[in-house]
Every structure is written in structure tokens, then in C-alpha cells.
Amino acid sequence: MVPGCGSISRNARGTPVTVSLLFEQTLNGLQFGVMLFLMAAGLTLVFGVMGLINLAHGSLYMAGAFACAGVAAATGSYWLGLVASLVAAAAAGAIIEVVVIRRLYDRDHLDQVLATFALILMFSEGTRWLFGSFPLYLDLPAALKGAVRLPGGIDYPRFRLALIAIGLALALALMWLINRTRLGMRIRAGEADREMIAALGVDITRLYTIVFALGAGLAGLAGALVGTVQSVQVGMGEPVLILAFVVVVIGGIGSIKGALLGAVLVGLTDTLGRFLLPQAFALFMDPSRATSIGSALASMSIYILMAMVLVWKPGGLYGGANGS
């Protein structure tokens, strides 16, 4: 045991829970959270401004990851790949907005769900067609390889730190865009009253395409970044999409601030739950049962969090009163 770190307990595998390990897991949770935010931001904006539920958002996340993998493999540059992920996902978003999504704004949610479900089928199968069904892996550039020694003697992967920094920077940039710029003013106005800003001479059709492409680009970038840590494969978007829904429900629809808070809450709950719950159960039951009960409960923890927020505030933390 590392002196000075303060042991709390031992888990089933005998790894001591130290303050430094807890710190590391907290960083992991934060990193997961900011990536979820990039995904949830587009979802909540598209819903808040256009009133559209977009299941195909996960496909844009996947498209970004594949664009990054493709371009990085062709050019050898990871950075070009990241740019490609942003551009390709935003372009794909703009295209599906103009061709399909635009026709769905004044339809009911059921039609939106079905049409975007159909888009998922087409995106997934189309990607499998182009890239095959084997997962792709991305190589990190030298600048992001290796680990950084943090205070407290923890070696933490440099790339994961970079993810936290990129995520937080983009969150701040997005809030600045929404709250301080003319485009953001229009987006907020579109959320409040779409007829009125159309009457004031804002080209609402173009505004919608921009908002959709913006959300798509962020999702694509998140896909590329997370795909670097894990792998790039067909179907990678949907689990994240559902987590992003949980984030949006917790944060309140249409609220960027809510999405950030919700995403960090979900990221921390999930990561720390997986880490701490099996050990907490090991305090009073035998290790193998503790691991299975603890991990089963941990996999449900964010949904329990969501249920609690709903009971307390049905419209989400930063949402309206009734949640409709």
C-alpha cells in the first residue's frame, strides 16, 4: 500500500481503494462525462430549437469516428482525421437535415422516431458496406501518447487528460456561442418563438440547418475521440445515444448548461458506481457475489439517478416545470 494515500477498504480482487485510485476513477468519470456532453449538446439543441427527437444522432457520432479512421489511415495524420470527423459529421448532418429531417419538423414525435430509426438502419448498413464489420483502431500521435504524472503520484494517460480539456473547452465555447453571439441569440429566439423570429426576417430554414450541422459536428468529433480510446465499429453510436438521452432528461430539454451538468453527473455516477459498488458490497458478503450484485447494480445506477431526478423534477434540472 502506498503510504500517505489512506486505505479505505479492499475490493474483491484485493486492490486497495486508495485516494489516488479514487482520484483516477473520478478523472475517468469526468472524461466520460465531457464526451457525453458533446453528444448530448446537439441532441438537446435540436430538440429545444426544432422540437425534433433525433435517434440518428448516434449515427452521426459513428460517421465522425469512421471519417477520422478513414482519413487518418489514408493520410497518416491523426489531426487531419479529427478535422475530418468534425467536417464529415457536420456535412452528413446538413445533408440529412435538408433531405429528410426538414420534412419532419411539423410531424408528431412518432413519425420522427420512426424516420430517424430508419436513418439508423441505413447509416449502419451503409457503413458496414463501406468499411466492413470489423472494428477499426486508431493510432495516437506521439504528442498524446504516454502518461502524465499528476500530483499524488498517479500516472494518468495523457490522451484522456486531453479529452477532458477538449471537452471542457468545447463546452465553454458552445456556451459562449449560445449566450454571447448573434447566432446564439437567434438560436435562443428560435427556441422561444419560431414564428416571431421568422417574422423578424431571420432565415429560419437556414438557421435550422446550421443548428443541426453544429450538433452533428460535435457528435462526430466525440465519436472520433471516444473511438480512439475504444474502437471504431458499426453500432458504436446507439449505446451512447441512449446515455445522451438520459443526460438530456436529467439536464432538461434545450438547456446546454443542463446537458453539461447532466453529462458530468452521469459520467461520474457510472464510472464511480462500477468502481465502488462491488467493493461496498464486499464489506458484508462474499467476494464473488459482491462482484456480481455490485456490477449489476452499477450498470443500472445512471437509470436510477434518472428516475430520482424525474421524481424530484419531472422537467429535468434546468427544464420547464412540466417536461412536455
Partner: protein, 326 residues
Amino acid sequence: MTRETALNALLGLGLLAVALTAHAAGWTFTVTLATKVAILALAGAGLNIALGFGGLVSFGHAAFFGIGGYAAGILASHAMFYEPLVTWPVEIEGTRAMPVIWLVAMAASGLAALAIGALSLRTRGVFFIMITLAFAQMIFYFAISWPAYGGEDGLSLGVRNTFAGLNTLDPLSFFAICYTLLMIVLGLTALLRCSAFGLALDGARQNAERLKSLGIDPTRVLLTAFCLSGMVTGLSGALYADLNRFVSPAMLSWQTSGEIMVFVILGGVGRLFGPLAGAALYIVLEHNLGGVSEHWQFLLGLLLLLVVLFARGGLIGLVAGERRHG
């Protein structure tokens, strides 16, 4: 007889005719496909109660489908190994008798629907869609990480469960069971629509405020409908487990929720026989597009997209025209 009634009769009798002809010709696989259509139509019929009649867009019906399936799988596996299900306070044995399994599957999925519905109905609209999806996902992850009943690998039922007096392993007998249950459920749904409860449910979908001013609590009406809906889908899950003699977390996945929803919408939302039309079309497409290209899901997606954008009202809407009541 309206065009819709005629079409319903055609659909109902058509499925029966397909199964009987296939049996006579010795095409066992076609009988099994017809059985699959009946079971999936039943799952859709369950969702239709919430989605079509109550206007509740549930994207989490895979939860009830899977819970029904696991109820069948768990009871059968305990019976197979002669392990009691519960030893305390009373000893409960597993069972292979279908009627008991159906009741347990419906009770379990009904209870799950009560819990999920009570929480989800605090909100409406798009929140409701996301929350039902999230709860179904929660149960999916629970099934994956809970090792006692197979976890990620799923659970095998061994032989098909039993029904007194019938050889359930004979494809036509099993089809008859599923078909009869589907017809009973569709008949009961038709009665439900005409009942006072059905009218209240229509009211809750169309104008909750007005229903409230008549002294009826819309949330309670919708919650009841959601439970009934979950129970029917749970029943179909138990049958589906028996069809494949296997349950796995895939039954609980969000794709399953999407597919059940597709059956309802392809057929026509709120139409009594819509789920049957939708499920039949889906299975036919799956088996024929599969021959055209291994990327048949792309074509399926394209077709779905065209149906949503240009053929509103689904298959039954296309043939029988607009519904007269909103």
C-alpha cells in the same frame, strides 16, 4: 362491412391459410415463419394499446417482451434441473406448463409496466419516449451483467414447454396456440375499445384536459393502458422464447423496441389488425430482401423512411383509407 373489416378478415384468415397450406405441403419452415408473424403481431398488439389507443409513444416495449421471455426461460430452466425457484418462505418449483408460464410472464411484465409507467407518466411527449427507452436499456444491462441466468450468453430452454393435450414441438400445433392467443387478444382489444375504459383512453389521447374536467384522471387511465399493453407484449415474449427455445438479452435490446414499433406503424397506428399487417410485411421483407442483398437492412430503412414521409397511416391506412375518428 367496411373495407377495414374486410381487410382484417383477410389478414386473419390469410395467416391461418398460409400456415395450413404450408403444413399440407410439408414446408415446415413456412409454418414456423407464420408462427413468428403471429407472435410478433401479438407483441405489436400489446404496444398498439399504449401507442395507438393511448397515444403513448413507448420506445421501451422490449423490456416487457424480454421480461416475458425470461419468465418462460427461468421457469423452464428450473423445471429442467429440478431446482426449486424459491425455497423460502414457501417452496416454489419451476414449471414447463405453458398456461402457468403465460400467467407468470404477464404478471411480471405487468408489474414492470406499472413501475416504469408510473415514473414515465410523470412526463409526456418526447420525454416519455426517452425515459421508456432508458428504462428498457436499464433492464437490458441488468440482464447482461446478472450471471445467474446466462448473462450475455442467454438461457436455453431445452425442449419446448408443454400444453395439455398438444404436442407443442409439432410446428402446426404451436402455430395454433400462438394464433389462438393472438385472435383472443385482438378480440378482447376490440371489446376494450368499445368499453367505457376504451372511450376514456381515446379521450386521454385526444384531450386530457377535457377528460379531467369530466372527472376522470387521465394519468390513471393511461397507466392502466400501459400495464395492459406491457402484459400483452410480455405474453408474446414468453411465446417467442418458446419458439426459439432460447432467451437472450437481445430480446431486451433497443432494436427490439424499435422493431415492435415498426410493426405497429407499418401496419397502421391504432388499427386493430395493424400489428398483424405490419409484422407480416416485416417478416416477408426480411426474408425476401435478404435474398436480394446481404445489406437488406439498408433497403428496409429506405422503405420505412418512404412509408413515414409519403404513406402516412401505414398499410391498413393505404388500403382502407383514413380513419374516421381522430
